[in-house]
Symmetry: C2
Subunit: 177 residues, 2 copies
Amino acid sequence: MYEVEMKVRATHEAVRERLSALDATHVGTVTQIDTYYDAPHRDFGETDEALRLRREERDGDAATRVTYKGPLVEAASKTRRELETGVDDGDEMNDILGALGFDSAAIVEKERDRYRLDGYTVTLDTVADLGEFVEIEREAPEGDIEPVREGAAARLRELGLDPDDQIRTSYLGLLLE
Amino acid sequence: MYEVEMKVRATHEAVRERLSALDATHVGTVTQIDTYYDAPHRDFGETDEALRLRREERDGDAATRVTYKGPLVEAASKTRRELETGVDDGDEMNDILGALGFDSAAIVEKERDRYRLDGYTVTLDTVADLGEFVEIEREAPEGDIEPVREGAAARLRELGLDPDDQIRTSYLGLLLE
């Protein structure tokens, strides 16, 4: 399965009105504080890797995960090797990484408010220092990527947004620009 | 508080008989499989650091912790900076460390059978590839280190062991010799 994903800048107030009019289902809100690290022995920007500590809060429950993302294996599908585990104590994990020479390079803090609409997930992201975005995504089997992408574009238009405004840069990338 | 600790090679069968005769209390058994890592950018042997993933099983419950130990801050008391957190998935953590360039340098696998004797903890360690050891330990305030050490030596003698046989090298050190 492939993850089809489009992201645009958008004012949430107007989008929420459209979601309500289209009878979208509210899924829930999650807060994510992501710390990305520099490596002491190679440049993750050049090697296209990432090391992330994510502190997540959902309905009052907090969880922390450490994730390694390897370089793109296949560019078209954006497939990467991803390794992840939950950790009990995010501060200790951050300090362990620091002691090993991995320093915090950037912190991405966002609130994500999720809706379901016609089989798509619509996420209203409020990102600290960047502002408001809307992301639409859905999994697709390899042969169905194009129709699913067209469907995502159609949903964006229903929400009063322009798929041509798509931003391909990650929030981390936008913050580091 | 300081950790006073003495370790000698010993055949467990004879020590168990002495522990029983001395009315020691059996605390429980734990299995520990410790993986120690090499760093890609410095020599932990030279910097006197350690990075360890410990998989522990106690009464059927499994737990994994990742621990960083810094260099000795104070040689006499063997004080080190120690950072630690539990992790949900030891295999993923091991793979994340591997992807970041930290390779397994040694694995120390041991079964630890603990007893309490006159305020001391007596641990019967069976270490893979090394054999059987007995460790005696107790916390002591700074002013009381010497009497607690003498008490540990006295307990070892009660167990039919010779404190002069003390081994100061860690199991990891013995394995790497």
